[in-house]
């Protein structure tokens, strides 16, 4: 049977780390995180440079602001939640069995890594790889490996870097650590202090029956913890796979373009996490909380799932440029849906088609030029009314097998060139047939008029129509044009019908 082996990951000062992992500009700067309702905010987490500056936990905002060079950030539970899921996801690459043991403002989890030596190498190498993977996603952690679950947990919380406890050396390894690591309340700590017990080694040396007789059964548990001998039933958790990144700004951001620096980092994280599962991003949802309680939400769906960070960032930039937020941004959240990475087998004789990701960017740019609803594929509506269609977003349909034989030359058809909107004209009639008409610029003499063709429909609704169409050959200034004149049958206020030049045959 494989010997038990556990690795504990401990991310101290997690509220600060969760905020700083998306803020590379604050790297190495003293940062303190405040929580509470203004003006009674207190420091709940801080990084090492801040501690060196003299900042301490529970310091008030006024006291913290008096320290020069200190950056103060507001605590974001969403950022912490996102960072925690990143941590668990990263850990899941090394072991599927993970138990969350987070306490206070630290995020910790223990991995059951028994039997993983062949996959990841000896325990110290596994620990180094695990720590490097966490550092890559912006988390500074300490890692302890032990055959005992609690020994690994306590050691990781008390030390920095990587610690490997050899089997049987748990008690020696924990001996110098303070008893406060056992999670005792103040009264229990004072009792042990009165006895002169300050370290776990001193607690472990006490005789068990006498200790239990004085402090109860729980004292036996403490002693076993201090000896690194307390048994534990592992309760693995299943980390939910959620591609979500959140960043909250301490001051609302006015310029939407400046968001892209933060968004680039967030997209990096999302693509990396999806890529770790051999997935790509099928859709990207931008959710912004704006000042004044407004909410901004846009969804981008690339033609195919992609993990191309530059492409996604360009799409995001074009989307924000086309739909700028109406107020300053307080919080930015990116959520992604994972999809299978695209693997398209191109045919040797298949016709050339636009590259999907490049086409997405091109269409977004075209929409920025011509308008959102003016680029796409036309779809004919199921109606008898002429000239009715709707625009749909353009996507390259999968190529069908091209016919091997050349299609027969079908007779060409006369096409219309529509005038949008139709031009109102004044028509002269003789025997109910148009003989001439005039628009704002010129007068046309009708050489031949074919019609009338009457059409009506939807009379039961407000969109009803009742028109009379004429195909007209008209002459003006020596040139002949074929056009479509439409007469609306509903009489206007002046009793005349409305004539419109709708299209030219071309």
């Amino acid at each position: 049977m494989t010997k038990p082996l556990y690795a504990c990951i401990h991310a101290a000062e997690f509220p600060a780390q969760a905020l700083l992992r998306l803020r590379p500009d604050l790297l190495g700067q003293p940062v303190a995180v405040l929580q509470g309702t203004p003006p009674l905010e207190i420091v709940c987490s801080l990084n090492r440079p801040a501690r060196l500056k003299g900042v301490d936990l529970a310091m008030t905002r006024l006291e913290a602001e008096a320290i020069p060079g200190l950056h103060l950030l507001a605590r974001s539970l969403e950022s912490e939640s996102a960072a925690r899921s990143v941590l668990l996801e990263c850990a899941a690459h090394f072991s599927p069995r993970i138990e969350d043991v987070s306490q206070a403002n630290a995020s910790s989890c223990v991995l059951d890594i028994a039997g993983s030596e062949r996959l990841f190498g000896p325990p110290p190498i596994l620990a180094a790889r695990l720590r490097a993977a966490l550092a890559a996603v912006g988390l500074r952690t300490s890692i302890a490996l032990s055959a005992n679950f609690h020994a690994a947990r306590i050691k990781a919380a008390a030390t920095r870097g990587i610690t490997v406890i050899a089997p049987g050396q748990e008690a020696d390894s924990l001996a110098r650590l303070p008893v406060a690591l056992l999670g005792l309340d103040i009264e229990q700590q004072e009792t042990l202090l009165l006895w002169g017990i300050r370290t776990l080694g001193e607690l472990a040396a006490l005789p068990e029956p006498e200790l239990i007789a004085r402090l109860g059964q729980q004292a036996g548990t403490w002693r076993n913890l201090a000896r690194g001998a307390l048994a534990h039933t592992f309760q693995p958790m299943e980390p939910a796979f959620c591609l979500r990144e959140t960043c909250e700004f301490e001051t609302p951001v006015e310029q939407a373009d400046s968001l892209l620096f933060t968004a680039a980092r967030m997209i990096d994280c999302l693509t990396a996490r999806a890529g770790a599962r051999a997935l790509a991003l099928a859709s990207l949802t931008v959710h912004m909380e704006l000042t004044g309680g407004l909410v901004y939400r846009r969804v981008m769906r690339p033609a195919i799932p992609t993990a191309d960070r530059k492409f996604l960032l360009k799409l995001l930039q074009l989307e924000i440029a086309a739909h700028p937020p109406q107020a300053a941004i307080r919080r930015l959240t990116l959520t992604a849906d994972a999809g299978q990475s695209s693997k398209v087998q191109l045919g040797l004789f298949a016709p050339q088609t636009p590259e999907p990701s490049r086409l997405d960017v091109t269409i977004a740019r075209l929409k920025a030029i011509a308008g959102q609803d003016r680029v796409g594929s036309p779809i004919l509506e199921d109606t008898h009314r002429s000239g009715v269609f709707r625009m749909e977003s353009f996507a390259v349909a999968p190529s069908q097998a091209a016919s091997s034989c050349t299609p027969d030359a079908a007779p060409a058809r006369m096409a219309l060139r529509r005038l949008r909107p139709p031009v109102a004209v004044r028509v002269e009639l003789r025997d109910l047939k148009p003989v001439a008409f005039r628009d704002a610029e010129r007068r046309y003499r009708v050489a031949a008029a074919y019609g009338p063709w009457q059409a009506s429909g939807a009379w039961w609704s407000a969109e009803g129509w009742n028109v009379e169409e004429w195909d007209v050959l008209a002459e003006s200034a020596g040139s002949t044009v074929a056009c479509l004149l439409v007469r609306t049958m509903e009489a206007r206020e002046d009793g005349r019908s409305l004539w419109q030049l709708e299209a030219f045959y071309d």
Partner: protein, 253 residues
């Protein structure tokens, strides 16, 4: 050897490691063509419109320009190609396109618009949008054919399009193997156009004087580069072709 030729050889020699034959145009004997689907026009062009080059279809309103371009696009989409229609005047009629056989799902339609209020509208807004859109689509690549519809643009405005724009379009079309078809009232691309077809209306056809059934058009080859040496001089420089109305075509079918 003349001094110009010597100078050319000297420049080419000095740039040889960067641009082989920098000042010598590449010899091209034949040009790939794509059929328009109209037999008379294909015969006139010895195969069809060129691939990777600019073709201009010019003529006044009702000269059959749009019908010819739609027939060409229908043929291209029928071969599973993806095409684009950049519409400076927002004049394309999707029903006509579908009736001509265009697979609308494989057609990207860019409808240029006036962004200013009616009183302040300028013709350059739409033209500028159309040219920029065409540039983007050509640079993106993958489109077998692209129609730049400047049918509503007056010759005075069209002639102001810089020649450098057409030259860039020609280069991009050549690189991406895209047939760029320009619909216009007059030829704007000048030397950048590989083919110029001048269209004009001939006569309308009707049934009993009450129903318009079609139109006869004349198409004349105004210009054609890359002519192969085997062209027969007896070929007519112009052809006549017919287009039927949608209802007449359905009746025949």
């Amino acid at each position: 050897m003349t001094s110009a030729a010597a100078l050319r050889i000297q420049i080419e020699h000095s740039l040889q490691h960067r641009f082989p034959a920098a000042l010598s145009p590449m010899a091209r004997s034949t040009l790939e063509t794509a059929a328009t689907g109209i037999a008379a026009v294909d015969e006139l062009l010895q195969g069809g419109l060129p691939v990777g080059a600019i073709s201009e279809i010019t003529g006044p309103v009702s000269s059959g320009r749009t019908s010819l371009a739609l027939a060409f696009i229908a043929r291209r989409t029928d071969e599973d190609n993806v095409c684009a229609w950049v519409d400076a005047g927002d004049a394309l009629d999707p029903e006509s396109a579908a009736a001509s056989g265009v697979a609308l799902s494989r057609l990207l339609w860019v409808r240029c618009r006036d962004t200013a209020p009616p009183a302040l509208r300028k013709p350059w807004t739409r033209l500028d949008q159309a040219l920029r859109s065409t540039d983007m689509l050509l640079q993106a690549g993958g489109f077998a054919s692209l129609v730049l519809d400047l049918g509503a643009t007056t010759p005075e405005q069209g002639c102001r399009i810089p020649l450098a724009t057409w030259f860039r379009f020609r280069q991009a079309a050549d690189r991406t193997r895209c047939s760029l078809v320009v619909l216009a009232q007059a030829s704007f691309a000048q030397s950048s156009a590989a083919v110029v077809l001048d269209c004009s209306p001939l006569q309308a056809r009707s049934k009993g004087g009450t129903v318009l059934t079609g139109f006869d058009y004349q198409v004349q080859r105004g210009r054609q580069r890359f002519n192969s040496g085997s062209i027969s001089r007896r070929k007519p420089p112009a052809s006549v072709w017919q287009a039927a109305t949608a209802w007449e075509s359905e009746k025949r079918a």
